[in-house]
Amino acid sequence: MPHSLTLSGIDYAILIIYFGFVLGIGWALKRYMKGGAEFFLSGRSIPAWVTGLAFISANLGAQEVIGMAASGAKYGIMTSHFYWVGAIPAMVFLAIFMMPFYYGSKARSVPEYLKLRFDEKTRGLNAISFAVMTVFSSGISLHALARLMEQLIGWNYNACIFVSAAIVLVYILLGGLTSAIYNEVLQFFMIVLGFAPLVFLALKDVGGWAALKEKLIPVATGQHFAPGTWTDSWSHMQTTAANPMGVEWFGMVFGLGFVMSFGYWCTDFLVVQRAMAANSMSAARRTPLIAAIPKMLFPALVILPGMIAIAMHYQSGGNFLPKGADGSPDYNMVMPTLLARYMPAGLLGLGFTALMASFMSGMAGNVTAFNTVSTYDIYQSYLAPNKTDAHYLTVGRVLTVLGIVISIGCAYLAAQFNNIMDMLQLVFGFVNAPLFATFLLGMFWKRATGHGAFWGLLGGTLGAAIFHGLALATGNTPGIKGGWIEAKFAFHSDMGQNFYMAVVAWTTCFVLTIVISLATARTKTDAELTGLVYSLTPKPETAHEPWYKQPVTVGILVMIVTIVLNILFW
């Protein structure tokens, strides 16, 4: 197969300068890494605009850039629900309601918050599943990067794996979390400035938004949907059969919006860790809000290219995107195809570097979250408590190396056995789905107990697994995709099935936690729960701040703009 991208000298120059800066930032930060607090928590010293941009960037891994463009082609503008129903409301909720507890409790990680609020076993469950999950995610990111580079430019797979892993390793060892955060901000600007000209050129070529709408009509009707399905975000959601996602509004709002997005953005330590590194309570609360503002506009950068590519694909009679084995377009190639099609040497280097940067920062984000949780929540809690700070710093560095070594192992595992990775992601799905119920009850109901939280979480995970065994989407055979007990519930798509699985897991965990909490005695007094539960914590005072620094005011403004965006593209 011919390689679809050819890089010139100027492109390589940009790539090399970029990675020079990445390592340089790590080097410059080296002298600040005096102890555990600096290495793992950035010494809580970072300004809000930096943590805010790192907050979205940590999530802006390759899965986001490649995946959202693929979804834009596959499902059209409905993909924007991941942003305008999912991420943004969750980020506003985190800023206004949850950040005061994470930051104010002085917990060093999300699992540690669970320890303070509930008990040791709840922390252990969360810490171990989270640590395993992060190294696997980092391995998957690494594998995806190397495979794409091999396919696009013909670089050697093994060399890609080891060079990328080595760069990430070096800058984290040098500058810890701060290094990861600063590089995420650099990556944020690379992605925005690297892909903006691409979107501009593609949109110009297709003839602007009005012409794009026109050209997406045959895409929809060709697949037997109503003409506007690719360009209306809400109009085709009455039934699961009316849209390509196979989801109706309840599954979307409750499953994706409330359960999955709030679960991810409000409880995943990978993103929350960025806000916890902010230099004050006010900065920590502003972190997700500062992140929400560019996040609202990201659909233009990552979903729109997918929509343009599929319009071009239909217009050209199926010759724009490369085809998969079954003759359908290979949606994951949207971004690379557009890069090759529109970017001249020079700009190509910029866009390509942005793509590589997103893979690597996805990996770095996972590694920094992994080393903190495995050092504080596993090593310090269970293996070797009461050692010196210097000891934990050394252990953290060793665990960073170990985390990267395991990631490399996982990358090769993913290359060998695709099924193992699917299986693992499925299990992570079961574990993650109920989490938000536990945090919601923990933060807003002082009667929730440790036993309630622990068994509620396990129950929710089990509920998710059982539901998965009973549900199956059209076109799938029973097995890893579901229905391995008995396919009782039929869904139109994997996505619809996932959203409902999340709803089941959340509800099971929510109800179980309440019932078991009421049946067990409280182990923490009101005094112990101060700073951890809403009703027992003094509200953060923000009246003296200017309006643009007040989380509630900014949060409301962000929500108004989000609602306007939903209506504009209804």
Partner: protein, 69 residues
């Protein structure tokens, strides 16, 4: 922490801007058929240059203030 991220951000994007503008001026116009006939290296290079310069200005100003006080 006494490390201003705006400084490296300003440096790298100024550098990228200069590279793209330089390449845009010198390169063979034929390569811009891809970008619909627009010399995007030149245009976008200027955008990057402006962004980089703004970041650098802020960083150096903040540094100047800290130096005085």
């Amino acid at each position: 922490m006494n490390f201003d991220l705006r400084l490296p951000l300003g440096m790298i994007f100024t550098l990228f801007g200069l590279l793209l503008v330089g390449y845009g001026v010198m390169s063979d116009p034929a390569i811009y058929q891809k970008s619909l006939g627009i010399n995007m290296n030149l245009t976008w290079g200027i955008v990057l240059l402006v962004f980089g310069a703004v970041m650098l200005t802020f960083a150096l100003r903040a540094r100047g203030k800290n130096g005085k006080s």
